[in-house]
């Protein structure tokens, strides 16, 4: 019979998230898996409910994109008791008992921050006054990307984050905050670069820079993380200077591993790491064409 897999997805709060859902469906179709997606609307309660109901329905496996890192122990225990393998997508969880889940397919969000930090250091000869557009306060990508970035620039005494505010991972948030940063830093003259925790905020920042009569990518450098198509477009136009791609294909490897586990009992690797790749304006135009259909 066809394999039934439940996917507890966070929501569709960003373009990247939508792409992740889209690829998951694609991969499920390719692998002939009946994928049931439950959209939690950004609420952990709803994800927990979804997992419970997947267990109640007796699915063959569960994919979980955890909205936060903590708080999964008891529901995962129920899944384990019911012998349903659980794969974590795009985020590790914080638990004392790693046997609660079968495997995790994630990128390394701290590493992403680190990579883009290194990239910026290279672009600016280790000397830069940076403004930072944070993601939603308290969300783990925001925490980890900030951490990685700060690690990277810590090595360079002349690189400093001079202002940091939350743009809530949204375009308008990024634009509004950037607008104020420009005013606060002498019309933008004192800003060397902006680091946005995701591409959407980065794109908002680009608009704010333009409206202030400055050139994004030149007067103020723009770097961010995610690798959504619009950012490649901006890079192709010379308005941004780099992004680290977070692969939206998390479900693919997870489904492969699940099928292997079910068909011949192959224990999967505990951490299936997806690659984090830095992209620069040099390849942007080609990359844009390549991934536009995915989004």
């Amino acid at each position: 019979a066809e394999m039934v897999v439940g996917f507890a997805q966070v929501g569709s709060e960003s373009g990247w998230r939508a792409a992740e859902t889209k690829t998951a469906k694609l991969r499920a179709h390719q692998d002939k898996v009946n994928l049931r997606i439950s959209d939690a609307q950004q609420k952990q309660e709803n994800e927990i409910k979804a997992i419970r109901s997947f267990v109640a329905q007796g699915v063959d496996g569960i994919l979980l994109a955890p909205v936060v890192a903590t708080g999964w122990d008891s529901v995962l225990r129920e899944a384990r008791d019911a012998k349903v393998p659980v794969f974590l997508l795009d985020r590790q969880i914080d638990t004392s008992d790693p046997t609660l889940y079968t495997a995790a397919v994630t990128s390394d969000t701290v590493l992403e921050g680190h990579m883009i930090g290194d990239h910026l250091a290279k672009l600016t000869n280790n000397k830069c006054r940076i403004v930072e557009l944070q993601g939603t306060v308290g969300s783990s990508p925001a925490i980890n990307r900030k951490k990685g970035f700060e690690e990277a620039i810590a090595a360079h005494p002349d690189m400093k984050i001079v202002r940091s505010q939350s743009g809530d991972f949204t375009r308008s948030g990024g634009k509004t905050v950037m607008e104020s940063f420009i005013k606060a830093e002498d019309g933008g003259k004192n800003i060397c670069a902006v680091f946005a925790h995701n591409d959407d905020m980065g794109i908002g920042a680009i608009q704010a820079i333009k409206e202030a009569g400055l050139k994004p990518g030149k007067d103020i450098l723009v770097v961010s993380i995610d690798g959504v198509p619009d950012m490649f477009k901006a890079m192709a136009n010379g308005e941004a200077n780099g992004t680290v791609e977070l692969s939206p294909d998390m479900a693919g490897p997870a489904l492969k591993a699940l099928i292997a586990l079910k068909s011949n009992g192959t224990e999967p690797q505990k951490w299936i790491k997806t690659p984090s790749t830095l992209y620069t304006p040099a390849t942007a135009a080609a990359e844009y064409k390549r991934r536009a259909p995915l989004y």
């Binding site: 997606i37 952990q44 109640a56 890192a69 708080g71 914080d94 306060v137 308290g138």
Partner: protein, 324 residues
């Protein structure tokens, strides 16, 4: 029959109809497992909704509950996990803190005549802000109490289990019913919702009652926070966002009037179950995209409310018409 009991019966009827419809559609639906899960999953909502019922019956509203739940979780995680405080000390402490927080809001509402909507909105901002200030990390709680709580669940016939937090919720509902209908405080709450000025003229201690109402609501939000922390064994500053609206919806679906003066705690309980039913339906369906999920929640919400209104109008035709 007393006119005001009708909405309650209608709510129950609507819930039963919804459950029946789901059971016919999904084979696994009608089981004690789903029942137990629904009670467990909505335990925190049930607890906080009981408090909200009192607030709304009194003619007020409390938007701060979601943030208070988050604050409670973060506080507990920090205290128990990072500072190794015994839960048995941390629980009363946080209940006292949240109750005090509610008392403060109640005092502002009463003494400065700032509308509850706004006072508690500021309360919502403040409590969430305090979470961030305490910590932006999400912290797992690995205290043995949290680890072993699931062992104390009561087995239901079939595969279902009645978890500790579900029992807490049922107890809160029961106590809430007693408070609402069998105490002077309860009567005073209804009186204030009926007409604050009249209530004052009739000797209701309005100041004390207002403060106690918001104390109760925040205190129960604190208890809901404890329940939530059991539910997730963690504290995260982003927890329970938007819960205030879910709670208000549950209370109103349960037949309580936002204009105050009318409502039943047990109705709220049914309202919570209806909210749970909507969510369960959506997860059982499993084919909805993110946007269809939202639209479906809206449609189901509308369906329940419209059904309720329709039945209410029908039953009003049956009894003596009360002038519009």
């Amino acid at each position: 029959m007393r006119g005001s009991l009708v909405p309650l019966l209608i709510t129950v009827g609507v819930f039963l109809a919804g459950t029946l419809a789901c059971s016919l559609e999904f084979p696994h639906f009608a089981s004690t497992l789903v029942l137990g899960d629904t009670l467990t999953d909505n335990a925190f909502l049930g607890v906080v909704a009981v408090g909200m019922t009192f607030v709304i019956i009194s003619g007020g509203i409390d938007l701060s509950v979601g943030s208070v739940i988050a604050f409670t979780c973060v506080f507990l995680a920090l205290a128990i996990q990072r500072h190794h405080v015994s839960p048995w000390l941390a629980f009363p402490a946080i209940l006292a803190i949240t109750a005090g927080y509610g008392a403060g809001m109640g005092a502002l509402i009463h003494y400065f005549r700032i509308p509850p909507f706004i006072t508690t909105l500021a309360g919502m901002f403040l409590a969430r802000g305090l979470c961030f200030v305490l910590t932006t990390d999400s912290i797992p709680i690995s205290h043995p109490l949290y680890q072993h709580l699931y062992l104390y669940a009561i087995d239901l016939p079939g595969r279902g289990k009645l978890s500790v937090i579900a029992m807490i919720m049922l107890a809160v509902v029961a106590v809430g019913m007693v408070i609402a209908h069998r105490t002077r405080f309860g009567a005073n709450v209804y009186a204030m919702g009926g007409n604050r000025v009249s209530a004052e003229m009739m000797g209701v201690p309005v100041a004390r009652t207002t403060i106690m109402i918001y104390m109760l609501s925040s205190g129960l939000a604190g208890l809901a926070g404890i329940v939530f922390s059991f539910y997730t064994s963690a504290g995260s500053s982003l927890a329970a966002t938007g819960v205030e609206l879910d709670t208000i919806a549950a209370v109103v679906i349960g037949g309580t009037l936002l204009s105050g003066g009318q409502g039943y705690v047990i109705g709220t309980f049914v309202g919570v179950l209806i909210q749970g039913l909507i969510q369960t339906y959506i997860t059982f369906d499993g084919t909805l995209s993110s946007w269809w999920t939202k639209i479906a929640v809206g449609i189901l919400l509308f369906g329940f409310i419209a059904l309720q209104r329709g039945l209410a109008i029908l039953s009003a035709r049956g009894t003596r018409a009360v002038a519009a």
